[in-house]
Amino acid sequence: MSMSTRHILLGLLASGPSHGYDLKRRHDARFPQARPLAYGQVYTTLQRLVRDGLAEVEGTDSDGGPERTVYRATDEGVRELSRWAGEIAPPAPFVTNEIFAKVVVSILSDGDPAGYLRAQRAAHMDRMRELTAVKTAGGADLATVLSADFALNHLDADLRWMTTTAARLTTLTAEVDTA
């Protein structure tokens, strides 16, 4: 379960009553480059919000098409939202890194950690070029640019870590082999 989907939906609701399909559309527009929300996930999350008293059904809206349930945030929901938004996200509570794990496993199994790091670096650069192309394309809005920047900075951090690790592979290999 995504730790923030319910709060993000609650946030979208806080700006005004809305139905499920509209929420999904607004989510995807607001958070481009994020994994698109499945409609089923929107529906179940809304039901949980109602169950917990954070949202309630406002009524139905047909607007010429099929009938849709319109939800709105309760006062309790608005309070919960502001609590969550002000809460500090725990900074990297567990260090689980697939790249690091692969380097260590590669050393243990007499593989080619340097070659793996090179290939991973190339893949990272490819992805960074893609994201940069997305954000520099004409007409990209600020939300797109910022979300691309977020990913770019994380990929860049990975890259820097890979560069320093590649330069220290000999020492790491000695350490892993003796341990």
């Binding site: 090179r118 290939a119 190339a122 520099t136 770019l152 900075n153 860049d156």
Partner: protein
């Protein structure tokens, strides 16, 4: 691994370049090709020979060994005077900082290459104004480099590098002295413009986020181009 043979074609090619500064060898047989209209990032740790490679490819320095071919011409066969002419007509250069003449206004700095090519001052300044506008520094025509922010100065430098319609721009750490937002604006302005004009860019950088603006990357390591991509 030998990359020496798949460099046929290309607008600008350096083959097996060797260059020493005193006793340290900055380049030890690097081979790099730049195609027309492409943005090529040259990355690598500091001291890997990135700047020296750009200097050799742009004819600023002559390599100790190896050859540089630009549009079918061997640079090592050209006299200094022709190289200088090549640099101000076919090439443009942008450095980290310091390429603008501090005493000249932004407009005069951009107009300078045109005046060197024989244009009149008024005409050159008018064209310079258009380029300043293109890089979003309109209204700073009469400011001197010291009065501009770092990002503005670099955009003026880009305008100066591109004003003559060069086929290749050498950008050596163009955002190195800027914060990330100003750097992003400079890189976006550069990329948009060269895509329109079809100018090739050799982008020297140690910053992966800057390198990501390029179409392709060559990674230098100890003066040679490191093997890329697949592990085995």
């Amino acid at each position: 691994m030998n990359h020496g043979d798949n460099t046929a074609g290309g607008l600008l090619t350096g083959r097996r370049l060797v260059k020493a500064h005193g006793r340290t060898e900055a380049l030890r047989g690097a081979t790099v090709t730049l195609d027309a209209g492409e943005i090529l990032a040259v990355t690598g740790p500091s001291g890997s020979g990135k700047s020296t490679l750009a200097h050799c490819l742009s004819g600023i320095t002559r390599p100790d060994a190896g050859s540089v071919t630009y549009a079918g011409r061997r640079l090592e066969e050209l006299p200094e005077k022709r190289l200088s002419e090549l640099r101000r007509t076919e090439f443009g250069v942008v450095f980290q900082f310091g390429q603008l003449i501090p005493e000249l206004t932004a407009a005069d700095n951009v107009a300078l290459p045109l005046m060197l090519a024989g244009a009149g001052r008024a005409e050159a300044r008018a064209t310079a104004g258009e380029w300043l506008e293109r890089f979003g520094v309109r209204g700073q025509e009469d400011s001197r480099p010291g009065e501009l922010s770092g990002g503005q100065a670099q955009r003026v430098a880009l305008a100066r590098a591109l004003v003559t319609g060069p086929r290749v721009v050498f950008a050596d750490e163009p955002t190195g002295a800027l914060d990330s937002l100003a750097g992003e604006q400079v890189m976006t302005a550069l990329v948009h413009t060269v895509r329109e004009t079809g100018t090739a860019v050799l982008l020297i950088t140690h910053d992966a986020q800057v390198a990501a603006y390029a179409d392709r990357e060559v990674r230098l390591c100890d003066g040679v181009a490191a093997p890329q991509g697949a592990a085995a």
